[in-house]
Amino acid sequence: MYAFEIERPSTIADAIKALSEEDAQALGGGQTLIPTLKQRLAMPATLVSLTGIGEMQGVCIGDNGEVCVGGATNHATVAAETAASYPGLSGLAGNIGDPAVRNRGTVGGSLANNDPSACYPAAALGSGATIITNTRQIAADDYFQGMFETALEEGEVITEVRFPVPEKSHYEKFVQPASRFALVGVFVAKYADGVRVAVTGASENGVYRWSEAETALSSDFSKDALDGLTVPADGMIADLHGSSDYRAHLVKVMTGRAVTAAA
């Protein structure tokens, strides 16, 4: 790693101030950033650790019944504290990486990085979550802008994520066994006004909504509703773990399994 300083602010305001310095970068749980630094793929002058900020920690229920998660809340905490209030989200958080990774990695860090194979983007997009930063609120539909690309501005920090709770939901992940990332993961959520289907791990543009499946499932929430649909392989990720055809195939299979598990 190149040399850098680490600051550990205890308030959002102090973190934003520290991030305004030249070549400052936010540090969540570090489960992606630290390996990146080790490969010398990043060269910050200062890392601003967000995990000591009390106001960005924890899970609560909002005024409209939505699940509110502090941006610096780790995956293990989300898994434990949403088990009753939002089982689909809990199941997703509780199957990220491995137990030690889940004790460090944070929801804000995952969403800010927007890895095309990460799990959390599927939950946020599949739930129609609201990403709350130090300056504004961003709808999940506007937030994800392609592989590792988000609507976040320089120095902007995810302080909270609000997940509307669906009637039924499930995240089905085909685990890439070495990394525990999603080879393909599908989050299905059935709300009163329709079904949302978010796919991660598959597209070269990162997480996306499979709108044809949403339409089909909104009128018939069963695996059979997907029978007539096909997923084109164009634009799907191809790597040593799976071809684009294989990933396209998995999208439909994982969606079907998620619907069955949620129903």
Binding site: A3, I6, L47, G97, P99
Partner: protein, 161 residues
């Protein structure tokens, strides 16, 4: 450089570290606690698992500065106060839960974290919990047996035998 103070295995320790100093390097190089092993240094293998404020973490994927003020437990603090092996360590010995031994510190620390939250795990739960701990000797069956034994349960007959 930054000054850090933390409690490691019940003792208060402090040191001066760079921002980029990993917790695993602080333990091994500064505190000379070399029981925490660095197998991959890419957060895959779990040989470096320690407990920070009671939670299992990979010490190669955390900065020492982030443990400032924390309660840290490493493999060196796991034995009983009279120096004898604790229940998990003894079970690893009894069930031949180690071959080369390189992964063992992380396996024991992960096992301790599992049994703290789930005192009677099923075999499947043990295997799932060890997803982040890799044994290069592939001695998983005996590791699982050891953890089942340490939890006071019957040691499963493993399909591969």
């Amino acid at each position: 450089m930054a000054s850090v103070t933390m409690t490691v295995n019940g003792k208060s320790v402090s040191g001066d570290v760079e921002g980029r100093t990993l917790m695993s390097d602080f333990l091994r190089n500064d505190l000379r606690l070399t029981g925490t092993h660095i197998g991959c240094d890419t957060s895959q293998c779990g040989a470096c698992v320690i407990h920070v404020n009671g939670e299992a973490v990979k010490s190669c994927t955390m900065f020492a500065v982030e443990a400032d003020g924390a309660e840290v437990a490493t493999i060196e603090g796991q034995a009983n106060t009279d120096g004898s092996l604790n229940v998990i360590q003894q079970a690893f010995q009894d069930h031949h839960g180690l071959q080369c031994g390189f992964c063992t510190p992380g396996m024991v620390m992960s096992a301790a974290a599992l049994l703290k939250d789930n005192p009677k795990p099923s075999e499947a739960e043990v295997r799932e919990y060890l997803e982040g701990n890799i044994c290069r000797c592939t001695g998983y069956h005996n590791i699982v047996k050891a953890i089942m034994a340490a939890s006071g349960q019957d040691v499963p007959a493993v399909a591969a035998e």
